[in-house]
Symmetry: C2
Subunit: 481 residues, 2 copies
């Protein structure tokens, strides 16, 4: 402020402060004994490997950007240890079908290439999988609806790197491989070369998250960030970028992150290698999805004469994939007979308004030139308490700008991925109180209407959320086909 000009606060969100974390006692006995973590994170696969989501309300309350404390984590094994002093010497290759194969250090990546910064919402393909597991056990563990998080990522645009490497004619895929040693080799996957070279797709080799060097759980010191696609393609602890004619043959590329046709059972899938290798079933772009965050599970609201005309503000999130946007979010209180339109906010658009030349965390923040959308949005709708009190449930659905709408019913598949039916919150009337019940709770945490309905003998696949319709015969309890 010495020259009389004062820089005003930016119009776009900056991340909330992180907490000082420590290595937690339960991690001391694991290979991750060097990793500091937030105790609020819910472990989905026991103590180790570290697969976690935040409590949904905590995640939502942090706002548009998620701290590293509450950012979901999907680790297949032990977190590679990288000493702070050797971070800049970390090496990775660009190889395969390129005219100029090369090995780069992180130091060279930072010094040689233009740096960019923008927000990206990463989403696990398993987000909301617990719901699938309640219908019928899948091969995956039980994510709730908090398997997504948003951060400001800083790094180098992959198209810039590939332009210098110069892919050869016939190249069609880019394989990505991490440093994590796993039972079936290093974690690896691939994406299409056409996406990797398209600036509007925004694929980045990242080394900062919310302005800080990467946390070990998030790929320290360097990772891939692929906006609009499932988290499983955003390889952490990056070691190799391999340009190829064919998709990756890495075990994790073939046997993970796929939506097999719904009629294939876990048992049958063991014998179908050609089905697993069919790229048509590999997941890349996220599908359109949404969740209710308020009311929270088990939240209670008093109703009655004294609440008069008061309203309750329903709130939640939604997202679409592949750069698409959510164009509407609709709410029903009568199981889909009629719908109300929620309002939607896209904080991501505030970054597009940044002045030309804006720098953030050492990267250029320049989003005005592209239409693609890489982050979650928020929706809300005021509903009179009296109407909530008359309803048996609240359900929501999002539509994206390709005019595809979330399906009413679940598309069950053997890995339990991309679960995106209408998100349903049941309303229980208990005297003067409304109690809200979400579909599930993450991991092995009990609760939710799906487990309850199933225990009561309802069939969750009857097209009515397991509710009995008047005159309907009782259906057998237990696992649905």
């Amino acid at each position: 402020p010495t020259n009389g000009f004062e820089r005003s606060a930016p119009l776009y969100p900056l991340p909330p402060s992180s907490r000082p974390n420590k290595v937690l006692p339960e991690d001391l006995k694991t290979p991750d004994h060097h990793v500091e973590r937030d105790p609020r994170l819910i472990r989905l696969t026991g103590v180790h490997p570290f697969n976690v989501e935040a409590p949904l309300t905590d995640l939502f309350d942090e706002g548009f950007l998620t701290t590293k404390d509450l950012h979901y984590v999907r680790n297949h094994g032990a977190v590679p240890f990288v000493d702070d002093s050797s971070v800049l010497d970390w090496e990775f290759t660009i190889e395969g079908m390129v005219a100029h194969p090369t090995t780069l250090t992180l130091r060279e990546l930072i010094q040689t290439y233009d740096q960019v910064t923008y927000p990206v919402t990463l989403v696990c393909a398993g987000n909301r999988r617990k719901e699938q597991n309640v219908v019928r056990k899948t091969k995956g563990f039980s994510w709730g609806a908090a398997g997504l998080s948003t951060a400001l990522w800083t790094g180098v645009a992959l198209p810039d790197l590939l332009a210098r490497a110069a892919p050869l004619r016939g190249a069609r895929y880019v394989c990505l491989e991490g440093a994590d040693p796993l039972p079936n080799g290093h974690y690896g996957t691939s994406i299409r070369l056409g996406w990797a070279t398209d600036p509007a797709r925004g694929i980045m080799i990242a080394h900062r998250m919310n302005g800080e060097p990467l946390h070990p759980d998030h790929g320290k010191p360097v990772r891939v960030v692929i906006p609009g696609q499932i988290g499983g393609r955003s390889v952490k602890w990056l070691k190799r970028i391999i340009v190829t004619a064919n998709p990756s043959d890495n075990w994790y590329h073939i046997y993970d992150n796929r939506v097999l046709p719904t009629m294939i059972s876990p048992e049958a899938s063991a014998d179908l290698p050609d089905t697993w290798k069919d790229e048509r079933y590999a997941i890349y772009d996220l599908n359109t999805n949404s969740a209710v965050c308020y009311p929270a599970h088990d939240e209670r609201v008093t109703v009655g004469a004294e609440t008069g005309d008061k309203s309750y503000k329903l709130k939640g999130y939604a997202y679409a994939g592949g750069g698409k946007r959510v164009t509407r979010l609709e709410v029903t209180l009568d199981q889909g007979r009629t719908w109300m339109l929620a309002s939607i906010s896209y904080p991501e658009d505030l970054y597009r308004l940044a002045p030309e030349g804006e720098m953030l965390y050492g990267g250029r923040l320049d989003m005005a030139w592209r239409d693609t959308c890489f982050c979650w949005c928020f929706w809300e709708l005021d509903v009179p308490l009296s109407r909530l009190g008359d309803a048996s449930d609240v359900m929501i659905r999002a539509m994206d700008d390709s005019m595809m709408v979330q399906p009413r019913d679940m598309y069950w598949s053997v890995l339990g991925m991309m679960n995106n039916p209408w998100y349903r919150v049941v309303i229980h009337k208990e005297g003067n109180t409304l109690r809200f019940e979400h579909p599930t709770q993450p991991a092995l945490i009990p609760g939710g209407w799906m487990e309850r309905v199933k225990k009561e003998g309802g069939s969750l696949t009857n097209g009515f959320w397991g509710e009995k319709r008047a005159g309907e015969d009782a259906e057998p309890a237990g696992e649905d086909p």
Copy 2:
């Protein structure tokens, strides 16, 4: 064959032969008295303007490529008359926010720019609208399920044209305007500049269709072809390309080709100019859709002891938008409880195998470099006749590579566009015969289970296709809310 080398037939489909058509008697009294047409086309808006689809079976039987005879047509008014001798002198402009505005003749377009040829399926946003009109009258006329057609288009890649014109910073849209004079000005619309400059999106300024100069109904002499998006953006009789900061304010851009939120009634929509102008509701990319073509409506198949183990081959089409692919097509005989996987063929992929340097109709056929998919695909599934005889209906749904699946239920909207619920064919058992009943017939042609169910007092929006469930109260007949 004089040098001993004989060129073998290409691996990719070429169009079937067109018929010699004449000006039809009913067109003589209209402004289109100069246009030769095929009498098989079904007129959807009386005699004039000319809005037509082929009988679904005829369309399907032509195969992957549609002749101009059976290609659907959507005209808002009179077809501009262009004399053959003046075709090459036809002028159009590139103007607005560009460094080098210019006026081009068709002759210059052909002589100055590289020509390309590839197949594109055009689809009207109103495809399958009749189903919406039966549920509740929309503002649109009644397309059946044949509002789509595929042709080999030849022309110039729009990115090439725009690169020479050099859009200025701040430009975000490309407005397109035709020569057809209409009550509310010339037909015009806009698309995003990011799409128009993306080679993988394949947007073309076309002057040949299936190797012939454009037919008057299809834009003679020059039109836009926008693959993967609704036909309404592919402006015919092109006169102006205008690069702008904002979307088109053309009447047809705002009041046509939109999916307003479902709760907005035709009456309410008259008073909502801001809703109409909301770009979130404008349709660009096609949504994922599919139809059954065999069995056809009213087709009869004999069953009984003598048919033994015989199967019936169910067949139809499917498509996705925005360059995406249909990755699976599933068939249910028990209203969604269980599904069977159909096989899918993508004739479009055969063109990707063309040898380097292949020329077709004066344009380069070079599709090996892109992953985007612009055409319909075909599906089929053999089902034992005995199983068909036991079922009350056949329903299908497609899923695309963003893992979005067609919804079970209709998303009704005031313009009745992008209708894509599961396609349902009812099976009637009549003695030894199965008779199949499609949802509707196009235009005012009676027939189909939707009209029948409605007449019988069923509610088409009850979540069960108007069927009564055991114990369900009868619902009032008439228009559903």
